[in-house]
Amino acid sequence: MHELFQNTQRNTFHTDSSEYLKVNGFPIKVQVVLPDELERLGIEQLLKSRGAKVLPFTNSISGSESSTKSLINPKADVIILATETANR
């Protein structure tokens, strides 16, 4: 029983764990601000698979009509501001 508990703890804090992006059972709310939709979807998928709650981002930074401020979701715990990744 003790070993089981230890294993559970270790799995929870491993990056492969589906609970990795949860703190005290609550999902971390993340917004990904990235203009490239494909890359954004990829990152969002990764975050979701680790238990995060992904808040939507509507890309209208370039040539936008609404203000940039309105794109930022105030409910987000963490906002990822990203350019295109180098590995594309």
Binding site: I43, L47, S67, T68, I80, E84, T85
Partner: protein
């Protein structure tokens, strides 16, 4: 987007100060982005990661560490020269003439030289000369126009904040004298600059 990052960081940090920021940058703008993080967000609230040095695992670790308030985060966030560099640049804004300051304020809103000329009823050539002189006086990199504009904008934002802490050091204020005496409107002004720029 890299060029927009400092502005975006400033907007984010100002509008949602409690939200943690993970900035991922490609080559070229690390200094400006790092300066923006340093000046607009708390050290424990932000991390700058290079896109070529980040992978899925480290991305997840950054997010978790940020949210957990892991102290390692502040070690990761080690901005280089730019913060001091930009503060020095901001201090030089005091040497600008009233007209140059007026132009810098509009430039910081993201307007082109042509737009500035139109707004101030000046010729494009005059504005070009003024902008060149602003870059020269501020000592920002004028080899690349966009980098010069970003640095000047950041310096202007810092100036808008710093200047109110030491009103005696400023020869000119972005607006009227009531601004420098309270400082509040100047701060608001810098936010408005960004918001206006975004539309």
């Amino acid at each position: 987007m890299n060029n927009d990052m400092p502005r975006l960081i400033a907007i984010t940090a100002e509008s949602v100060p409690k939200t943690k920021i993970l900035a991922i940058s490609t080559l070229g703008m690390e200094n400006e982005i790092s300066a923006a993080l340093t000046n607009f967000s708390q050290a424990s609230h932000s991390v700058l990661a290079r896109a070529d040095r980040i992978n899925s695992e480290s991305l997840l670790e950054y997010i978790r560490n940020l949210e957990s308030g892991n102290t390692e985060v502040s070690e990761i966030h080690t901005p280089s020269v730019p913060a001091k560099y930009l503060v020095k640049t901001a201090e030089r804004i005091g040497s600008l003439t009233r007209r140059e300051l007026e132009i810098l304020e509009i430039l910081a809103m993201g307007h082109s030289n042509k737009n500035i000329a139109s707004k101030l009823s000046l010729s494009s050539r005059t504005v070009n000369n003024h902008v060149g002189m602003i870059f020269l006086k501020l000592g920002v990199n004028s080899d690349s126009d966009i980098n010069g504009r970003v640095s000047a904008t950041l310096a202007f934002c810092i100036y808008s904040r710093v200047i109110v802490k030491s009103p005696s050091s400023n020869r000119l204020t972005p607006s009227d004298t009531s601004v420098s005496s309270t400082g509040i409107r100047t701060f608001t002004s810098s936010k408005e600059v960004f918001e206006t720029n975004a539309t």
